[in-house]
Amino acid sequence: VLPRVEDGIARDSQLTDVQRRQAAAVRLKLDPRPFDTFRATLRPRERYAVDVPPGEQGPFITKGEVVRAYSAFVFLPAIQVRTADRVFRYRFR
């Protein structure tokens, strides 16, 4: 067990605050920068919608649905709704 612990420490202790904040996006192979840019413009409880193509199908949900889920998490305390004046657009490269 302990080598696993040491591996985890060696890997994760090198992360900067920004890398740690973006770790989930990086793991999902998403570009974290558009999320950071949009988040900076949001106010608490502000409604926003997400415009993203479906993308490839994963085992349970599409890549587009993953982006919607990640947006819902990372943009809190703003609130994701189906349609809104504020729209977060994300495109896969």
Partner: protein, 454 residues
């Protein structure tokens, strides 16, 4: 500073739990309180989570003030209950106990280094648990704009709120949504679980059985790996395991307080995940099968757990929330189930292999199986019957989920098999010392019957 705040919030939960012990009948004197104080931290976590998750449904935020009130009230009532009772007597720890505690502390400190730097990057951790914890922290309650919001359906909205409520308590205590320090709370769940098992079993089983079991749990690679993901499976498993052990002790001793602790832990387990309800139902089935003559006490315990879960179920009904992964009502969709019956045995075998994987769980489950068999051979009935019923019903129940789900079963099984069985493995681990001690005593004195009748 945030670390201090997180630890201070946990210290208040420990105080709440210590005050709760006399009220549950666990401690009838200061001496018993000291002897069984290991149960205090987990009981405090479970109680704080239950209170906070229910208050979250009625627009009441639970933070420093709530924690301080809960701890003060609990301590005041507990102190009142213990007034004039025997003072604690300090016992010199055995060399084995001392060495085991030192080893566990060293291990947990080592784990702590990893938990202190881990990123929150696993899907369920942020998409379900931390999202809900942060929403409770930001909005102050289970605001339906998120907790019943169409765009948030991916977050398993029908899962109960015990874990997110504890996360929200931490965020309120720290004054920030800190995804790094959140991991420390998961390590503290392990501390609380191990301490509770020690407090619960220390008087009933030899140190030679107790401490190696606790070290085996702490050393199991799956415990470390899964706790570090900040998923709910290991917290659920730890709370459930303490409930299983408390119920096992009740079967042997018929002490009412043991059933009280089991009831509290089962309530916490049922309020953690939907699967927790399956495990709790299986445990009660095992208890009724093994101690049907004591059905009144069990009926009261089950009714209390239903009452604790009821407000959440009302919320789920009001907002028409559904499980996105499976629906047990699909059991009656013969067209769907008929074409998938072959999945059941595959899932059953796969989950079984996961449970006995030594690289994940060590030898916990093989040892448990050997001890159940030995207990039956030695003439014991109550404890091994209980152990057999709840484990097999839980195992069958988990396997059935893969039959009724509308997901492609192999992907669903592959992505969840390693963690859904955590409650069965840790529940089994919690019974190992009791099974071994009772079997040993029974084999030395075949005429001996446990206090609980058999």
């Amino acid at each position: 500073m945030r670390t201090v705040a997180l630890l201070a919030a946990n210290a208040l939960m420990l105080c709440a739990g210590l005050g709760l012990l006399p009220l549950l009948g666990v401690a009838r004197s200061w001496r018993e309180l000291l002897a069984r104080s290991g149960l205090g931290y987990l009981c405090g976590l479970v109680a704080a989570g239950i209170v906070a998750s229910n208050l979250a449904l009625v627009h009441v935020s639970f933070g420093w003030i709530g924690l301080a009130l809960l701890a003060s009230l609990s301590l005041a009532l507990g102190t009142w209950q213990l007034r004039g009772t025997a003072r604690p007597a300090l016992r010199r720890p055995t060399w084995l106990g001392g060495a085991a505690v030192a080893a566990l502390v060293a291990l947990l400190v080592e784990y702590g280094r990893a938990f202190a730097v881990a990123p929150l990057n696993r899907y369920d951790a942020w998409a379900i648990w931390a999202l809900k914890g942060r929403s409770l922290y930001e909005f102050g309650w289970a605001d339906p704009v998120v907790f019943a919001g169409h765009e948030y359906r991916f977050a398993n909205l029908d899962y109960p709120l015990w874990l997110p409520s504890l996360e929200a308590i931490d965020f309120r205590a720290m004054g920030a949504f800190d995804t790094r320090l959140l991991h420390l709370q998961f390590l503290l769940f392990l501390v609380a679980g191990l301490a509770a098992l020690a407090g619960l079993l220390r008087e009933r089983v030899p140190a030679l059985l107790l401490w190696p079991t606790l070290i085996a749990i702490a050393l199991a690679p799956a415990v470390f790996d899964q706790l570090l993901t900040a998923y709910a499976d290991i917290p659920l498993a730890l709370v459930f395991a303490v409930g299983v052990a408390a119920a096992g002790r009740w079967l042997i001793t018929n002490e009412r307080w043991s059933l009280g602790v089991a009831t509290l832990c089962f309530a916490g387990a049922a309020l953690t995940k939907n699967e927790g309800l399956l495990f709790v139902a299986a445990a009660f089935l095992g208890l009724f099968a093994a101690a049907y003559s004591r059905w009144r006490a069990l009926a009261v315990a089950a009714a209390v757990d239903v009452l604790v879960l009821l407000p959440w179920k009302v919320y789920v009904r009001i907002y028409d929330l559904h499980d996105i992964n499976y629906s047990l009502t699909d059991t009656f969709d013969l067209g769907h189930v008929g074409g998938r019956l072959g999945v059941g045995p595959i899932a059953f075998r796969t989950l079984g292999r996961e449970m006995i994987d030594p690289l994940a769980w060590g030898l916990i489950v093989p040892l448990f199986i050997v001890l159940v068999a030995a207990a039956l051979v030695s003439g014991l009935r109550t404890l091994p019957l209980y152990a057999l019923v709840w484990t097999i019903v839980s195992w069958l129940g988990l396997s059935w989920i893969y039959v009724v789900t509308h997901f492609e079963y192999s992907s669903y099984l592959d992505s969840t098999k390693a963690r859904v069985i955590a409650s069965i493995v840790l529940g089994s681990a919690a019974l190992i010392p009791l099974l071994a001690a009772e079997t040993w005593a029974s084999s030395r004195d075949p005429g001996r019957l446990p206090t609980g009748g058999g």
